[in-house]
Symmetry: D2
Subunit: 366 residues, 4 copies
């Protein structure tokens, strides 16, 4: 396994769905930044199961505990370990599924990769529960990039066939948290809720898209030719379970465009160079151009569904049918919004540190 990501703001996650806890060790966080633990908790709460009747009924308080690296409320430069405990563990039902991998899950690939030794209870290391560690690392990153004015915000852009109209930044800020699907357009949100409820009634699940924006990134951030902003963001985002596509700017629509349409003409506003349109998503040559960085992340439908599904017994190699009776989200997308934001914030902090835009804070002379 490889459980560390990042170059300068670099973190390592650990824990399993049905183990003691889920945790993260963050290394390379600059010293001297004040930490708002309430904010980290509020971000965890956005990801927490049980926050609405659209989510799994697993009940976890997910209270953050700081183990190291913060002293007198300030980062020390030392590694920051944070954990949340697992409380509501119900492992019993997983024994019956031990040899019959659930379609769409990592049960079979984990078996192949780890030779049968993986903790298979509740997906173990592959559970979506591990994204709580990403949120802790990302929430801290959000606070630190805010010190140089950078903001990251995501929202649900699509559930099934229902797409949200392109919102303004103000609409995202004001309305995203006002409904359980995290869509800034209220009318669309209601349709999305309905689509999720219909899927639930049908013992099914449904996919969707999260859009994420990063505002006020200065021009000149990124480390091409390989550590491009797109590349590092995409790698981070594909570590979120169920993500199957990552697009920047106009994304897949660029395939149908001509250059005269897709090129973003340069302009000057308030004495700063910008672009008229933003088809490139704020990134050219892997480097930020000062415009908002925009990306779109596609989530497949939750693989756990309460319908009979065809699978095979890994020991006998016989085909069989399974029924999954766990507690699952009919749509993971609304809870994924803070996770996408977190990975985006973490990667951007990493690059802002690499380019020298974010620095250690020196203690004021007393």
């Amino acid at each position: 396994m490889s459980n560390t990501i990042g170059n300068t703001y670099r973190f390592t996650t650990f824990g399993e769905s049905h183990g003691v806890c889920v945790g993260v060790v963050i290394d390379g966080c600059p010293a001297g930044h004040k930490v708002d633990l309430n904010h980290i908790q509020s971000e965890l709460d956005r990801r927490r199961p049980g926050q609405s009747n659209l989510t799994t009924t697993r009940n976890e308080p997910d209270k953050v505990e700081v183990i190291s690296g913060i002293f007198n409320g300030v980062t020390t430069g030392a590694p920051i370990c944070m954990v949340i405990r697992n409380k509501d563990r119900n492992s019993s039902k997983y024994e019956t599924l031990r040899w019959t991998p659930r379609p769409g899950h990592a049960d079979y690939t984990a078996e192949a990769r780890y030779g049968g030794h993986q903790d298979y209870r509740g997906g173990g290391r592959f559970s979506g529960r591990n994204t709580a560690a990403l949120v802790m690392a990302g929430a801290l990153a959000k606070q630190i990039i805010a010190s140089v004015g950078v903001q990251v915000m995501g929202y649900t852009a699509q559930i099934g066939d229902i797409q949200a109209p392109e919102p303004t930044v103000e609409e995202i800020k004001e309305h995203t948290e006002s409904n359980p699907v995290r869509c800034p357009d209220q009318e669309t949100a209601e349709k999305m809720i309905q689509a999720i409820e219909e899927a639930k009634i049908d013992s099914d699940s449904i996919g969707g898209k999260v859009k994420c924006l990063a505002l006020y990134i200065p021009p000149g951030v990124g480390q091409p030719v390989f550590d491009t902003l797109e590349g590092d963001l995409a790698k981070a985002l594909f570590s979120v379970p169920a993500v199957k596509a990552v697009e920047f700017g106009a994304g897949v629509l660029l395939a149908s465009m001509r250059g005269s349409e897709s090129n973003d003409p340069f302009n000057v506003k308030d004495g700063k160079i910008g672009t008229e349109s933003n088809n490139s998503g704020g990134i050219q040559g892997g480097i930020s151009n000062g415009m908002p960085i925009t990306c779109t992340v596609t989530f497949k439908p939750t693989p756990s569904i309460a319908q009979p599904q065809t699978t095979v017994n890994m020991k006998t190699l016989e085909e069989t049918t399974i029924n999954i009776h766990g507690r699952h989200d009919p749509c993971i997308v609304p809870r994924a919004v803070p996770v996408v934001e977190s990975m985006t914030a973490a990667v951007l902090l990493d690059h802002l540190l690499r380019s020298g835009h974010v620095k250690q804070v020196m203690e004021e002379q007393k």
Copy 2:
């Protein structure tokens, strides 16, 4: 900058469009593998400018030279350096564009990132010419993964609005190289050619998509939670200039699906576990499941177009109009096919080495 990629099969590229050469140093290539230099050359020829009248007229022979790491035709375990020389350099016209960044290019972001010291001639380090280094590393990777039966093949799946029907593996193998757009469906290829020629006549350019398949990857390859197959492939693919979206399996279409449709039911064929459908693109939990790995890469239209475009003067901050008179491809997609294959092959070799599937070859006892 960060010009090294990969963990175990790890390479570093260097060179600029108008410098001495473009090169790569490959580290971590296992010892004892025979190298077919003709194959590397033929891969470079697939990427080479001037191979058809759909491409730039820059004339470069792009002959591979091996500098180190291969002895008696076999890899030694030492770093393998390969270069191609730059011959047909015409740098004169770039001086006039020095302070007026070309829309869609990295001129402005490179200026912001490197403080004005970057080699700006022909895009310098950001030129698509540097993908020749990727092809050299990828061609070698293809040869080595072939030793365990893995095959990588790409084709042009879309140009503008024209989409190719899903081909069989046999069609890809037989027909992709039979037309200059590298589309396995001959009828579609003709429409694609026409679309490119129309863009060219209009002094414009056009985007498209490359699909890439990797066959016969064994199950159990990948290093989650962060070095997932998707994440590492995406990072590698986003380092290719003009790539703006990467999808696996059904990709963005998964947003509209339900779980009962998107889940790939397991089956057994010839005593091996597989899946009925392949919406996951052969990857679950970041690990291969033994089915073909499939990805789709969106390329934006070539940013250089022979039309007047609005830009700004970076010194005076005045808006102005530029005309680009270089030699450019109206559509980069056909030449990008071997580049996408190369990055895919390199990442897969990296992971096959990490999981122990590909090994050093011991010399036969004499």
Copy 3:
């Protein structure tokens, strides 16, 4: 800070001397290896304070807790987190030393590096207490390399001017743990104990050397030209507080030798290639040759001494005198033996994994 070490067997440590706990997250440990927690505990006990009257009186049980990565007593491939709690924390006296750095300690350099935000209590992140994390990672590594027959053993070779005669492997195994200084020669051990007690009586401390051997490493392990065995071992060993010199084989004595004396002539024993002498310490060109790997590590005297010492006030820049009243070891060397062994075992496991000698264990078919 940079708190991760290793390439394939890679671990990250966290915690401070007066914080909640000291911990480690081990990533890249192959799946399927049985873990003996009693052995890990016994290694921690060898490092634990208070094990004899030669050590600090800080009383810490140092009981290992496994947080993740081990399931049914076997490694799963997932990251393994282990911690020990800090119990006997007495932070009061450190406030008086806040602005007057202790000579020989990292107080001043930490202040300069982390801008005054470091946790300064008891050395914080720089405390020798953090070596417990190294011992947990190293004890696990010892168990896994034992699966391919590799053994690592250390002993105290010198305290002050008192040097131990070169012991046999059997003497190390049988006698090292029979005395509190961990010297396999009983007579020398007594002199060493006396030297430490004399230093203690004089309110002083004393330095020494640890020698470490690794037996049964197969030939052909190492990753030159930069990830040499010597280089990786030295880097790991210099992360242990108070280490100021690392030598391999005959070490510094090689400067006085001639080639005819220092070269190790090859021979054949039991059908295996070996060398007559072992001045190279089992490593040539950064790669193991099958002979025992031998290294010698010099520890400076414990910097904390109960004598008045000259220092400066970092705020006023005035010279002043301090008295350190903490609980400290008059000689750190005996407790450092398991730490040196641990770093050696961890680096060797890392390289044995990289060269394919140690592998994941597949579950037996049921």
Copy 4:
């Protein structure tokens, strides 16, 4: 193999003793620094064979060629490739030694590691000739750290039993290059020359020590707990062939000291915190304290000697005797001085970049 070193100033070397060339690709060099190629050449000349009658007679001009990354005499931020060609290759004699490894060389370990596929001619990838790549990377690093006032200087401190008295900085600067052994004390230099000549007459070789100082490093540079200055310097220095010990400050002598003697009391001079003595070699807790960084590097005698030596035939496993008739240095130490300086400078630049002390230079507004 692993041929890349460094975190931010990171370089990859390639080439073999009897191949086309020896080269280096430097990545992460900040943009905007002027490069003095004459200085790089003069550093190569200090390492070059044939500079005195104490060295091998292999005649190589070792002229540096810049392949990429420098534009208008200034670093661009892009990877900098530099090479020297191999001219005077005489590979004939190595065929006779193919199966009989030379004692003290990496012939046998390379065979074991690379399965017989390594380029064995003249030591191939293990040849001391590859240190020319280190000198190119180090010479550039010296120029860039000089921009913040840091100076690195080495000298020969010991040859055989002959030790130089501790020189002043001025003596090192003025006298080191005035004699072929690079010892700042003229009288000692003559004895060292004699010792080398005697070894040569005896068909033997001789070892020695290089001391290296880095002056004017600001306090607060280093990345503990694992990327300590000592650890990173030691790892880099152990990649130089024939190095078997690395010490900092008082080094191995600290084992015999007491804390009251070894601790460096703090003082204030010219308004700056410093230390009275410098037994710690300018590093505490892995971080610089502003005093000179001092290290001592032990080189074993050149393994190639013109005497019959015992070895084994790797195919037949029979013991046999070989005579080495190559062109070799009776003592490698004098030519190693610029190599030690180079690795020191490269590591220090890496850390000065990581701590933000060295930066990219912005182009002056025109």
